[in-house]
Amino acid sequence: MEWGWGEALKNNQMKDIKDINQKYIDLYTKNKDILHSNSSEFVNQIREKAFGAFQTLGIPTKSNEEYKYTDLSNTFSKDYTNYLNKKCENLNIESIFKCDVINLDADVFYLSKGWYQNTEKIKTYNNGVIIGSLKAVSEKYPDIFNKHYSKYADCTKDGLVALNTSLAQDGLFIYVPKNVKAEKPIQLINLLLDNNDEFSNVRNLFIIEDNAKVDIIFCNDSLTENTFLTNSVTEIFVGENAHLNYHKVQNDHNKSSNISSTFIHQSANSNVESVTISLIGGLIRNNLTVVLDGKGANNNTYGISLADKKQHMDNYSFIHHKEAHCDSAQLFKNILDDSATGAFNGKVLVDRNAQKTNALQSNKNILLANNAKMNTKPQLIIYADDVKCSHGATVGQLDESAMFYMRARGIGKKEAKMLLMYAFAFEIIGKIKVEELRNNIEDLVIRRLNGELGLCKNCSQRVIN
Amino acid sequence: MLKIKNLKASINNKEILKGINLEVKPGEVHAIMGPNGSGKSTLAAVLAGNEVFEVTEGEITYLGEDLLNLSVEKRASKGIFLGFQYPIEIPGVSMVNFMKSAVNEQRKTRGEEPLTASAFLKLMREKKEIVELEAKLTNRSVNEGFSGGEKKKNEIFQMAMLEPKLAILDETDSGLDIDALRIVANGINKLKTKDNATIVITHYQRLLDYIVPDFVHILYNGRIVKTAGKELALELEEKGYDWIKSQID
């Protein structure tokens, strides 16, 4: 048994990871001209810098404390049919696919492998809201775009962010100007519907200016049974006193790997609630970085992962309190069945001057089967004294006495188990602010807990076809 | 005993006390009443020496000394006791240790010998009876896990232990049911002598059914706007604080 705290790589692992890194370095070098011809000078400059960083950082290994519990070498060493698509537009998704979240009245935008799919490249609204292709916006609105792009997702810290910034070509851009309340929720659906194995990079940028308010839903769906690896980066700027409700739903399949890094930069008195629902995925790794960069900012982050088979779901969160009087709360849960593994790696950092911070961090996990496994590492790093910070983590089973109590009242064992699991999950689902989405997720989770495929009807039909 | 002259105090540059005048003599009971936010608790805190509040003007003499120059614990050892509206919980510190430190520190400042362990425990036993404080409470950490009523009883128990010259009881009646109120009030009455004085701060008249004040002051918007005998409390109960407001505004 390895006794040190850091995980050391063995020699053969070191070689493997070197080969993998070389593969992605070559990928960039060989396609540099295509990538550059597709983007603005500004983006290409950042691209070059990011590539430089990737050469140093590489794909994170288990010897990296932040990735201690997730082995990425498998998914990155696989051979994909396509690594970079020159263009992948106008798949006509709008007409062939309709998200069937009942009664959800949202503005819907589609991505496939990171490429923007709606026919209207940039949609502008009367109230000044701009939504559209990241690539198109970078050319048409360079002022807004250049001010924020790559400002929050630091390429020099994480090899995956560096890789995405080197390779990403498109994604969704949302701009909500000052004092504007977006009328409808904005729904982004990233669909994987290829009959090839695909590696793709998705890049999103959402700018919510001062006093603005918006609900955003980001769905990830894999509709064909191919092997997918998605490496996405989403940057979100939240202005003073702005409000964002952010929802992420992950509905992939056992052969998909979904690595998703979200960077939320919050100004004074801003308010962000984010809920991540991970329903299915062979490998899911969510990285969430929140910087509370103004007094009175408030962040609540919730997540639940339901994993079975050999799925692996890892939530990493880093909440950085840079200013005083900010509050943050994190609650992440896992229900793990079969041979699934779950991980939580949460970090709260309170800077010296971030006095009067309230920070809560909680991770609760249920292991349903004997081969399920959970690793958790909730951390507090605190440099200010006038703070209230606490964290907790539990790993256990469903409450036996509650089970007994219910069964004594005539509720069957299976039903009782369902009720308890559902109650466990509902603490998170209840946080979803968009009612129609919440109802739908409730449905999905119940189906998922029953062992069914937790897909919406339209999505599941595609899979069955 | 206590003379307050034109006392002004503020917190975060917001003026709360806007010129208080008050004189308390030995043996007297003063009631200070007033609506929420009038400055009652601030006055209590300033008398005890809480440095969150800044005294911007005025003077306080206590037993002929300038009170404002004394630290919190000096004031305590000179006989000023504040019954807290919200008694503070101190996890891990037992009531016995806490009280022993308080009693002996105060004795030390007065140049007296510390009490022996047995004398101290005997004193505890005696004083507990005054407020019918359950024995088990003194074995727990200070105020931790106490009910609202137990916390208030505990304040009076500490007052009994420390035998102050001037007790300032800040909303000691709030949150008490009628039985607990009677016990607490009886405790306060038992501790009264011709040499000590009590300032009772309260929002309601009902406490004054048990503790009969010599003077009732009405504090409104940082000033004492009316002073009279105990009948004022009854009048106030009947007519409500709007009556005062209408007289002032």
Partner: protein, 481 residues
């Protein structure tokens, strides 16, 4: 109030380290530097058997290939291992064997430290093995203990008198490959304590090792090996101090504990190595590997009060190997000025129905950094394993840091693991409440800190608890800012 508190803080942090004196005795040292010859010299000076020299050499060769990895929340200056004296012993006035002839200077040293070596003068409840620099100078009450079959002696004597026992257990819990400092210690360790409690015997007194670094430029590398045979019981105490010097000194020790079926070992430490001065100059670098392995229905309990050292790197751990094994870890770690501590535990659940408890109280003041790092690992076969961890941090002042790094790895679905942690400061309202009752601020802080640490202090043996409380008071009183 602020000014007043600063004043108190000042007084406290200026207060002298009580144990900072140097004893003037002749030392037999071998000069600075480390190579295979040095390892051989140490071994030959101790007249060691061949197998032990081999063990040392293997460890040394392994250490040479190792690289120190700093994964802790510690700023560790580069250590020049060639600039350290690896063996230093006070020159005995006579032959080391005659225990009654301890150098009067050394006798005085231990008296000054409150550890009289005369059995008549001692509390009858404690047997002491006194270790100065690299060697054990005196073990008391040996004969009384021997009557019950308890072996309590210096490590060197154990190698000479009980080679089979030492050979069987040395490195069985902490192999020399374990980590960088364990490898170093295994190569150059000079002395330490050995203790064996036979089957069914309860030690009638507490056994204690008192470690003292005296000579300059030396490292201290001692080893403690405790074997508690079936159904036995022992309570073991460890204390440490060092002179005040401007240069840092290295202390890299190993403690191995074997708890057999049904046995119980209670191991308590008050670590008060010289912490450096208030500018952060000097102090001991304390890199210690402590670990125990627990057999069926055995129990191992670590209690530690860590107030000293410039750097503390220490994770007393438990391997719960047998079914129904119980492990406990209680810790109070205090850092002030420029001290750094990264300390915690590892609980490895292997057996069924094993349970572990972790209570850690960190207190940071001054410009110090204090981290809790802990691992709870439940292996696949550890049915019904239970762990409860509570790790609190208290901050005094706004220039220090308090950090919590728990790792929880659960590979069995019948396990229940709970971890809780809070970080808070001493509330101004708490101090005000105490002040109002007439308790001065420094007294109030002492009360509150001791209250905060009570869960751990109450686990220490009586006389240790009193010492620990005083230490807490000295290290901290009034350091709220």
């Amino acid at each position: 109030m602020k000014e007043n508190e600063d004043k108190i803080l000042d007084e406290v942090t200026n207060s002298d380290y009580k144990y900072g004196f140097v004893t003037d005795v002749d030392n037999d040292d071998i000069g600075k530097g480390l190579n295979e010859d040095v390892v051989r010299i140490i071994s030959s000076k101790k007249n060691e058997p061949e197998w032990l020299l081999d063990y040392r050499l293997k460890a040394f060769r392994h250490w040479k290939e190792m690289e120190f990895k700093n994964w802790a929340h510690l700023d560790i200056p580069e250590i020049n291992y060639q600039d350290i004296i690896y063996y230093s012993a006070p020159k005995p006035t006579k032959v080391l064997d005659s225990m009654d002839d301890v150098d009067p200077e050394l006798r005085k040293t231990f008296e000054k430290l409150g550890i009289p070596l005369d059995e008549q003068k001692m509390l009858s409840g404690v047997a002491v093995d006194a270790v100065i620099d690299s060697v054990s100078v005196k073990t008391t009450f040996k004969e009384n203990l021997a009557e019950r079959g308890i072996i309590f002696c210096s490590f060197s004597e154990a190698v000479r008198d009980y080679p089979d026992l030492v050979k069987k257990y040395l490195g069985s819990v902490v192999p020399y490959t374990d980590n960088f400092f364990a490898a170093l210690n295994s190569a150059v360790f000079s002395d330490g304590s050995f203790c064996y409690i036979p089957k069914g015997v309860r030690s009638p007194m507490e056994l204690s090792t008192y470690f003292r670094i005296n000579a300059a430029n030396t490292g201290q590398f001692e080893r403690t090996l405790i074997v508690a045979d079936d159904d036995s019981f022992v309570s073991y105490l460890e204390g440490c101090t060092a002179p005040q010097r401007d240069e840092n000194q290295l202390h890299a020790a190993i403690v191995e504990i074997i708890v057999n079926k049904g046995a119980e070992v209670k191991y308590s430490t008050v670590q008060n190595w010289y912490p450096g001065n208030k500018e952060g100059l000097g102090g001991i670098f304390n890199f210690v590997t402590k670990r125990g392995i627990i057999g069926e229905s055995g129990k191992l309990s670590w209690s530690q009060v860590e107030t000293g050292s410039a750097i503390t790197w220490k994770y007393p751990s438990c391997i719960l190997k047998g079914d129904n094994a119980i492990a406990e870890f209680y810790s109070v770690a205090v850092t002030n000025n420029y001290q750094q501590a990264d300390t915690g535990t590892k609980m490895i659940h292997i057996g069924k129905n094993t349970s572990s408890t972790i209570i850690s109280k960190g207190i940071s003041a001054g410009k110090s950094d204090n981290s809790y790092r802990g691992l709870v690992k439940v292996l696949k076969g550890a049915e019904n394993a239970r762990n409860f961890s509570q790790c609190d941090s208290l901050l005094l002042g706004d220039k220090c840091g308090a950090h919590t790094y728990p790792y929880i790895e659960v590979d069995n679905n019948t396990a229940v693991v709970e971890h809780e942690a809070t970080t808070s400061k001493i509330g101004e309202d708490q101090i005000f409440y105490c002040n109002q009752r007439g308790i001065p601020t420094e007294e109030a802080i002492g009360l509150i800190v001791n209250g905060y640490a009570k869960d751990v202090l109450s686990k220490l043996p009586m006389e240790f608890a009193v010492e620990a409380q005083k230490l807490l008071q000295i290290s901290l009183e009034g350091s709220v800012g």
